[in-house]
């Protein structure tokens, strides 16, 4: 009966209906209704997101979805950001580009995160995709500005080039001049990560001048302050602007042209950059402050009073990134000025100092949470915390979706009671029912995991460090957190039992990272043997794990589900546990 209904619509109608369904989850659901829907859907899927590039092979993707126009891939585990993943681990995008070059000649968008991209890849992209529009390389590495020059020279329809946080070998600014004079399609350029002192200012100015659709422009540090006015003057339509260096000896004519340039940018909503700030130049941005919704001052090393002066001009602020120079007093001022605040990130200015260099404590965060009801996303580095503060935060900000707290010294107890912070984080997960991402720190026992397992039903990503007492902690999380996709753990006393008892759970998750824990090599082998759809990879730079007894703990463990089987591009310090490993004599 149902089959009849499904077949009564011609394919084209169904396809048209499906075109309104954009989310991956919905698309996946659609494809599972019946065989014919599966077929129709796969031919009209245009956008693919692959959260782990090793979960599937390029060929499998191409076989199922022959007409893709946009692809997003993620490579290395998140902890690679903190140098926990040794160089050479993997995440190479070349095999993907190579396959797609033939299969998707009309590919328009490539978005990569934590992948290794070479100049060869970039040249291949430039050559293979005639209608290429969007290239986002987020925290990638392995390429140079020569590769960018190839993209610039060939991609006549390029709209977006975003290199945020990537590690680029910057050979100088000449790559910009490879954009032909006839090229005018640029909408978004983020080259803020480029590190060379050289930049071709004239090429930049000409490019900005002729690309009248430019909305986002984030410059790199090499662009001096006195050039900003010129650049902004050519692009008053900008919505998102990142300065280069924002410091120089104060000169009134430079200041006034800067202020004038900013005031003519009526659409400006987001500012960033501000390296090497000279406070005297900050008032130049006051004309745009009242409309700003996003402000990234996380490289601004100025004192709290100057920061507060600036923030008082920004009542519409929704997103603020700042260094802990803002201090508790500054955050209090923020909370009274910026009632619409949704996201706050406070970074440490002196993370390795033994003593605090600024007066920033849990109070700052509490005052923001008390006054800003719309707060959803928090990243906060501080040196002390209390359960009482966490409970206050939880009760006043039930809408939190992302909460990442980093108390700088591992295993720091509640400074008031000297107890673990279990109750405080327990309150967070209990009250913030939509919490999707959580990072823990401080002194924590197995109890906090009990709370997490019990309450954090929407939690998708959990980061744990220096916490817990026994396998029970891990067991609570794996058995309780229904929505868990990514779990990353370091330096916790979690061993084999919880892992093996919850092996099936791992197939419902994207990945699990465990480093400096107590999982034995034997357990890894067992897991690899019993769970063919999991790739169990042991990372150990000190030598082959089978040269030691099975009971020895592995250094680092990365487990992820995959339909592609074990990968073949592993470096010498990564071992995969497959079906045969448990049978090998060690």
């Amino acid at each position: 009966m149902q089959k009849k209904v499904a077949c009564s619509f011609p394919d084209e109608v169904l396809e048209h209906v499906f075109s309104f369904i954009q989310s991956d989850k919905d698309r996946n659901a659609v494809s599972m209704v019946c065989k014919s829907w599966y077929e129709i859907e796969r031919w009209c899927r245009r956008k693919i997101f692959i959260g782990n590039c090793y979960a599937v092979s390029p060929r499998m993707v191409i076989r199922r979805f022959p007409k893709v126009r946009s692809i997003e891939l993620k490579g290395k585990p998140h902890f690679a950001d903190f140098n926990l993943v040794p160089d050479g681990w993997g995440g190479y995008v070349l095999p993907w580009i190579a396959e797609m070059a033939g299969a998707y000649p009309w590919l328009e968008e490539i978005r990569l995160k934590r992948m290794v991209v070479t100049d060869e890849c970039l040249e291949l992209i430039a050559k293979s995709f005639k209608n290429f529009k969007v290239l986002v390389l987020f925290s990638c590495e392995g390429f140079s500005t020569d590769g960018l020059a190839a993209i610039a020279a060939s991609c006549m329809n390029l709209r977006e080039l975003d290199l945020r946080d990537s590690d680029v070998d910057d050979l100088g600014g000449h790559w910009l001049s490879h954009f032909p004079e006839t090229y005018t399609s640029l909408v978004s350029l983020n080259s803020s990560c480029l590190g060379s002192d050289e930049v071709s200012l004239s090429a930049l100015e000409r490019l900005v001048g002729r690309c009248t659709n430019l909305r986002t422009l984030r410059l790199n540090r090499a662009v001096p302050l006195d050039k900003i006015a010129n650049i902004l003057g050519r692009a008053p339509q900008l919505v998102d602007f990142g300065t280069g260096t924002y410091g120089a000896d104060l000169q009134s004519d430079v200041f006034s042209s800067l202020a004038g340039a900013f005031s003519s940018c009526k659409e400006l909503r987001s500012l960033s950059g501000f390296w090497d700030v000279v406070p005297a130049y900050l008032p130049a941005i006051y004309p745009v402050c009242s409309r700003l919704t996003s402000l990234n001052l996380s490289y601004v090393t100025i004192q709290s009073p100057d920061l507060v002066k600036l923030l008082r001009h920004c009542p519409s602020l929704q997103r603020l990134l700042v260094l802990d120079y803002i201090e508790d007093s500054g955050l209090e001022a923020l909370s009274s000025s910026c009632k619409d605040l949704q996201e706050l990130r406070v970074f440490p200015s002196d993370p390795f100092g033994e003593e605090p260099n600024v007066s920033l404590t849990e109070q700052g965060l509490v005052s923001v949470c008390l006054a800003c009801p719309k707060l959803q996303s928090v990243l906060y580095f501080c040196r002390r915390m209390s359960n009482v503060a966490l409970v206050t935060i939880a009760q006043n900000c039930p809408n939190l979706t992302r909460f990442r707290l980093c108390i700088i010294e591992p295993r720091t107890a509640d400074f008031l009671t000297l107890e673990p912070l279990d109750v405080g984080f327990g309150a967070i997960v209990e009250h913030c029912k939509d919490l999707r991402r959580l990072s823990l720190s401080g002194l924590l026992t197995d109890r906090v995991f009990e709370y997490i397992g019990r309450y954090a039903k929407k939690l998708e990503m959990l980061s744990v460090a220096f916490a817990g007492e026994s396998d029970l902690g891990l067991h609570h999380v794996l058995s309780g957190c229904e929505s868990l996709r990514k779990l990353e753990i370091r330096d916790c006393p979690f061993g084999d039992k919880a892992l093996l008892a919850n092996a099936a759970k791992l197939e419902t998750m994207r990945s699990l990272w465990m480093s400096s824990c107590a999982v034995s090599f034997g357990a890894c082998k067992l897991l690899g043997q019993k769970m063919p759809r999991l790739n169990v990879e042991v990372i150990d730079e000190s030598g082959p794990p089978d040269s030691r007894p099975d009971s020895c703990p592995v250094d680092k463990l990365y487990i992820y589900r995959s339909v592609a089987g074990p990968r073949f591009d592993m470096p010498p310090f990564v071992w995969t546990m497959d079906e045969d490993s448990a049978l090998q004599v060690s």
Binding site: D249, F352, I408, P553
Partner: protein, 291 residues
Amino acid sequence: MEGGLVLLGGGVGGGGGSSRFPANESAVAKVEVVSEVTELELGLSLGGPTGKAKATPGRILTAKDFSSVVVPHRASINGGYPPSVAVSGTKRAADDGGSPTVISQVVGWPPIGAYRMNSLVNQAKAPRAEENKGTNEANNPKKAGSTLKQSDEKSGHIGYTKVNMDGIGIGRKLDLNAHSSYESLAQALEDMFLRSGGAEKEQLTMASKLFDGSSEFVLTYEDKEGDWMLVGDVPWVMFLTSVRRLRVMKTSEANGLGKIFLFDIRSEIAREERTAKKQADIASPAFTIHR
């Protein structure tokens, strides 16, 4: 095959435990590893030999002969159980001017993205920042400049330094902040390039040539002016503030840098701050300086 990177053999920096040098033996340093680090001790103290492995006479002193007891860069020492020493222990290190704080020795903690860390470094070193210190002194007293101050006074380096070895395709990264001395660096490099599991025989041979002092390779670094220098010429702390990246270079290519690839231990010790006495005892005719 014993090997260690042939570098400055000047002894242990602000590491914990003590290194003892026998009064009479030449070219040999024996090290006593103290397992419980309760206080970080400076440098060398001399005394009788203890049970550690003894270098064969005439062999060049290498990193292996010194054991840096400063907490190793991996937080897990004993199977992943809370590293008792690494973090919560020694907070108040002896003020030796060259010893990094304990936190900085835990890899990847605090969890600050590598990109941001590198920016912190660049910010601290940027000439503009230094220029502006003058104009901003009223506004930016030590607090705002503390990143800069931190980098000058403490370990001098935040973030990771790239290391490449000639002949090995994959470059690596190293946290110099986790080391307090050249020996410690040498050991880390040894571990990195020699012991990356499954190392090909070829790789081992290459590395052994480096590390046993037959001098096919030297360790060099690019400083902030872009010049390539031999590692070991300057005191450790100064090295940290100027190093941009490292390269284990074939000696044949290092000619322009001068032919010094073994270092005069005497002069190095004289330069480093030490509380130990009898530095002259370390000097030995077995060391040669090739010029």
